[in-house]
Symmetry: C3
Subunit: 203 residues, 3 copies
């Protein structure tokens, strides 16, 4: 059980990181960035949320500095996406699923990091949401546009819903099962919201 | 004396936090953000300056992660402001005063945090000014506009004037009195600058 | 040898800091910022890269808080540049050279900081590039434009080339010589790229 769930998490982490990096590449190409700029946006989208989290809680050097593998995965993803951009655009469904699963996993990773230093549950959920969502916020700031998170996509709400679920469940079931269920909830809410084009109200 | 001044500080902190959050809500509504985006901008405006300060000096986890009350005050303020936005706009004078008092208090809190780790007086004043002003800077970055702090409002100057006063006064009078006087100076300079529409020169 | 190279580094550090600050002043004036805004942009351009580096690795309080001299140099540079802006514009060649030498030195300083905490070579080069380039990125974010680093200037590539050289050379020659050679390579690549108007491809 342990091994399979941990392997499951690793697969999701890689798929999620790749999906985040790919979304960064396409956003950067739209703005006519050069290949270096595109690569940086891929990195920032993939690791920005975790970086903000680590900086806010003082977990430095931040995570990506200690894990060269993740950087190589992002770099490889960015290069391959630039080379085969027309084909990769067609992987729309795979990307949506990978992105949604990654969003779920990153949220839970952030929540756990907060719990490890005894932050209160509400702050842990905030930290999880930051981990999942703030890569996209930094991407949009660097691309000089208002973060989509604040007006377009329903992207934080799934993290908050899944995060609350996780925080409640770990009192009753094993951490592994709570994590699996929370990731599924985040992903499901995200995908349904995307398909149905759900939006939060403006004023 | 101690108790009343400390209570006085707490009241100002709450009023100032609310005024900062309200200014965030209105700025975000102008840009057609959704209710989640508006809430995030309210948070960022209220706690962004202190967060930048804590990250720069390594006081992590940053302050708001250790004080759920402040977060609840901001959340409540954001919700109430969204619901009663037409009424709250009319509280213009109250908001201006609360904002100015908050600016003063946050500046002094920042200066004290710098002094506590033996930074030089000039750096402490810088840290105080960052605490007071950088929530608005992050708000404007997220709303995709040049920070008002850099071209429109006379907002940092009151912090610097009040900060210098504080740093000088604590050599001669009690810390409590120095703080009270400095807050009044920051607030007075800010309000007069606002009323008279004072601007710094451009080139 | 030691003394002269160290003096050489100090001279470059001052010249580079001044050149970065001056570029900040001119970029800010274009956007009609007031004198306070211009000064902040000068600071951010000069110390932003090192600040991001220090925050990411947890070397807090960040470097500029511990070195008032650098701040005074930036402040003096900003004031003089604002006063004599028409004359300073004509110092184009001197500024280009100072900026390029500074870029090289800051890159090496960043790499050394990474090595001091045992980060892997690729991360150290990344940290060096961040040190050299991210002041300009923050400057551009604050001025509400897409960072030039990502689409216009060939500015990071020289850092990466020089950084790789440095990391390879220190296995064979003295640290002082490796540093001198790497700085010359960064500067030379930067100046040639600028003169020839080299660009990275877009897609």
């Amino acid at each position: 059980m342990d091994i399979s769930l941990s392997t499951f998490s690793q697969v999701i982490e890689i798929l999620g990181t790749m999906a985040f990096a790919i979304s960064g590449v396409f956003a950067a190409m739209e703005k006519k960035l050069d290949v270096f700029g595109i690569t940086i946006i891929a990195f920032v989208t993939a690791i920005g949320g975790g970086t903000v989290r680590d900086v806010l809680i003082g977990a430095t050097p931040v995570a990506w500095m200690k894990d060269v593998n993740i950087l190589l995965i992002i770099l490889g993803t960015a290069v391959i996406t630039m080379l085969f951009r027309k084909k990769i655009v067609n992987l729309h469904k795979t990307l949506l699923l990978s992105d949604a699963l990654g969003l779920g996993l990153f949220t839970i990773i952030g929540i756990k990091k907060g719990m490890a230093i005894d932050l209160s549950p509400g702050i842990c959920i905030t930290l999880g949401t930051i981990t999942g969502c703030f890569g996209g916020v930094i991407r949009d700031i660097l691309l000089n546009r208002i973060p989509a998170l604040f007006h377009a996509d329903l992207y934080a709400t799934p993290c908050i819903v899944g995060g609350i679920t996780y925080v409640l469940l770990i009192n009753y079931i094993s951490e592994e099962w709570a994590q699996a269920i929370a990731i599924i909830i985040v992903s499901a809410v995200r995908i349904i919201a995307y398909r149905k084009n759900w939006r939060l109200p403006t004023l």
